[in-house]
């Protein structure tokens, strides 16, 4: 308590909230989920190396076709798409594109680095949402 360091709570809380600050946490969360998924994915696909039996066993274990598993597969698409789209935004910004130039700090402050790329942020998120809506149709409305 003496330190008042926020710890993991600080990834969500901490001062005036701009949307990018939440994306920081979401990007990290999806990144970790992707690492977890990729490990499982490699283990499952790798089972093919141990013959047809092992492969079919692994497939049964995973339970493809089960509606619950299908829902989680869709969630995976959401996670991948968010991480990729937001990653593209971060790569552009962190290499100095889209973020504007230094300006005189005259009130109300320009806050260029977060305000200037914000339209790009919304456009990317809307494109991702449209893609995900089509993906949802593909996943749940069409026969598997």
């Amino acid at each position: 308590m003496k330190d008042r360091r926020l710890g993991i709570r600080g990834w969500i809380y901490g001062g005036k909230h701009n949307p990018e600050r939440f994306l920081y946490t979401l990007h990290r969360l999806t990144g970790v989920l992707l690492v977890l998924y990729l490990s499982v994915h490699i283990l499952v696909v790798g089972s093919r190396a141990f013959g047809q039996e092992a492969w079919e066993g692994a497939m049964r274990l995973v339970g493809l076709g089960n509606p619950v598993v299908r829902f989680f597969e869709y969630l995976l698409v959401v996670v991948v798409l968010f991480h990729a789209v937001n990653g593209a935004r971060l790569i552009l910004g962190e290499l100095g594109f889209t973020i504007g130039r230094p300006r005189r700090p005259i009130y109300p402050y320009p806050k260029e680095s977060i305000r200037k790329p914000r339209p790009l942020l919304w456009i990317l998120m809307i494109l991702a949402a449209v893609y995900l809506a089509f993906a949802a149709y593909n996943f749940f409305a069409l026969p598997a």
């Binding site: 360091r5 926020l6 710890g7 005036k16 909230h17 971060l90 973020i99 005259i106 320009p110 977060i114």
Partner: protein
């Protein structure tokens, strides 16, 4: 407590109280503060408490005009300078006043800034010119800089070291050794200055664990900065510079930094055609 304040000219201050070593844990104490004049600030409210209600309250301030950076604290979860925020910005009339998070508390609203300034020092926040050390150590004249070269870093030099950006940063929350937005911003302040030749030295300091790449562009520093410094902009520029250096692209004419020259010595003779100065009308002041 009632949902609304009873009187539009009374402000309810719920103030964080804590003295490490004495109090077991922090508590909040409530004070009623009258609006003494329309432009009254949060800091004036806290001084009112100190002078009239409770002299034991600890609050740090000095300039009371947004210049010294001493009075940074959080009101209703937002980082502000107490001296630069009017009470009337809080129409509900209720203020929860806390010290900046992510810093150790000295007492009540005062936070310990040693680490913050230590990080600032680490990035060498002064002009480096290993290229002509003699001039830096025994300056003969000023360096020549164009107005547009000044604009490249002027915004980043407005920092008053209040520490709000560090308190708002999500990386600081989990990494105590992270240099933090203020120190990382200062790198661009000097690397982008045409008079400075220390880019590689500063990059060596920040292109390291707990440095530049622990910034993930959350932008909270820019959102909270009370001086409009935009630390996130400065830090992303330094990332770009670091990448250019790693790929040796900084040697391309487009990206190469040209050092500002030392001003030439003044010409001994006046330009022709300038009329001589008129006769003195008052006697010369005696040399003191």
């Amino acid at each position: 407590m009632s949902a609304r304040k009873k009187d539009p000219n009374t402000y309810i201050f719920k103030v964080f109280r804590y003295q490490p070593g004495k109090d077991e844990k922090p508590r909040f104490q409530t004070y009623e503060v009258p609006l003494l004049h329309p432009g009254m600030t949060v800091l004036e409210g806290l001084i009112y408490i100190k002078e009239n209600l409770d002299p034991t309250l600890a609050v740090r301030y000095s300039c009371r005009m947004a210049v010294c950076g001493s009075c940074a604290l959080y009101v209703n979860g937002k980082g502000i300078l107490a001296c630069h925020t009017a009470l009337r910005e809080f129409p509900s009339g209720k203020l929860t006043v806390e010290p900046m998070p992510n810093y150790p508390v000295v007492k009540d609203l005062m936070t310990r800034m040693d680490e913050f300034f230590d990080h600032h020092r680490q990035v060498k926040p002064y002009l480096l010119r290993p290229q002509d050390r003699a001039e830096i150590e025994n300056p003969t004249r000023e360096f020549l800089q164009l107005p547009e070269q000044l604009e490249e870093f002027l915004q980043f030099s407005y920092c008053i070291k209040c520490g709000l950006c560090v308190s708002a940063c999500p990386t600081v929350a989990t990494d105590p050794d992270f240099l933090g937005p203020q120190a990382l911003m200062t790198v661009a302040r000097y690397n982008r200055d045409s008079r400075d030749g220390g880019t590689v030295y500063r990059l060596k300091v920040v292109d390291a664990p707990h440095g530049l790449w622990n910034c993930h562009f959350a932008g909270a520093c820019t959102e909270v900065c009370p001086k409009g410094v935009d630390p996130a902009l400065a830090i992303q520029y330094t990332k770009r510079e670091s990448v250019l250096h790693a790929l040796h692209l900084n040697k391309l004419p487009r990206f190469r930094k040209k050092l500002a020259p030392v001003a030439p010595p003044p010409k001994p003779n006046r330009r022709p055609g300038i009329p001589p100065a008129p006769e003195r009308t008052v006697p010369e002041a005696p040399a003191s």
